[in-house]
Amino acid sequence: MESYLLRSFFTPRVALSAKISMEELSLEPGEQRVANIRVHWFVLTLRLLPYIFLALLPFVILPLAHFAAEIIPTFAPIEARLINAFASSLMRLFLGAWWLFLWIAAFNTFTLYFLNVWILTTERIIEVRQPRYFSRRVSSFFLSRVQDVTSDVEGFLGTLLDFGFIHVETAGEDAAFEMHGIRHPRGLRDMILREIDEVHRNHAGTGSGDGL
């Protein structure tokens, strides 16, 4: 039951997302996607907050100028100029441009949130990392090579919203993979460990050494 709940939470669209991984990552025969893991929505919200504050900035300028003019009388002409400027039609162009740039930046942040993903399959973990456009790194490591999986939930908000950090250590040169700000790190760790257990059990049954 718990496994079903976790899987259903992490994989809302198994068939559709499997197409993505099949196209770009060419899964092995018999390999199935188990979960797509992304950063928690709260972390996305935190990344979008600066744009929201900057978008609200024009609404703060006039009240601030008014407040400053009340305290410092010499500021009154500047306030009058600001009021005139905001009343002009040209200001609409600048404000529209300002908000459009912020909107573009916020949409790019949202896009990059979707492009960065961990895909857990029955055989391996595939890490798709894209810090910016046209800079994409796809790496994968087999579950049979995983030595240690550590999850960490820190802080009040992390505990409340259940997001944190997961660290997967593997044998070999590519020693560790980690992802910060993911949702349900403990559930994910349990899921990875369960898949590892499954891999070892299957390979023990078929007599294969490491499943590669």
């Binding site: 997302s17 993505i20 162009l93 441009a97 908000w99 573009i104 979707f114």
Partner: protein, 90 residues
């Protein structure tokens, strides 16, 4: 004696005055610079949207998020572009 001491010298008419405009007239901005700025912004928006669309279609074409995301992006962008354009049209 004291009266003859002037704290500041007044500007003499014999000294040539430079009349440099310290700010660009609004009419100049509205007529010349505003359309250029608007097309520049529109160009940036088109390029940025094409790059984002390329990444969505290349890597997430089957995602159910793509359509609502682009519809919202398009509507909000269109509204903001119209708002910006209203600054110098009409």
């Amino acid at each position: 004696m004291i009266r003859s001491l002037e704290p500041f010298a007044t500007a003499s008419s014999s000294v040539p005055q430079l009349h440099i405009p310290l700010h660009l007239p609004i009419s100049f901005l509205a007529e010349r610079a505003a359309p250029i700025l608007f097309w520049l912004i529109l160009g940036v928006w088109i390029i940025s949207s094409c790059i984002a669309a390329y990444h969505w279609l290349r890597y997430h074409r089957y995602s159910i998020v793509i359509l609502p995301a682009f519809i919202v992006y398009g509507i909000v962008s269109f509204a903001l572009i119209l708002y910006a354009a209203s600054g110098f049209i009409g």
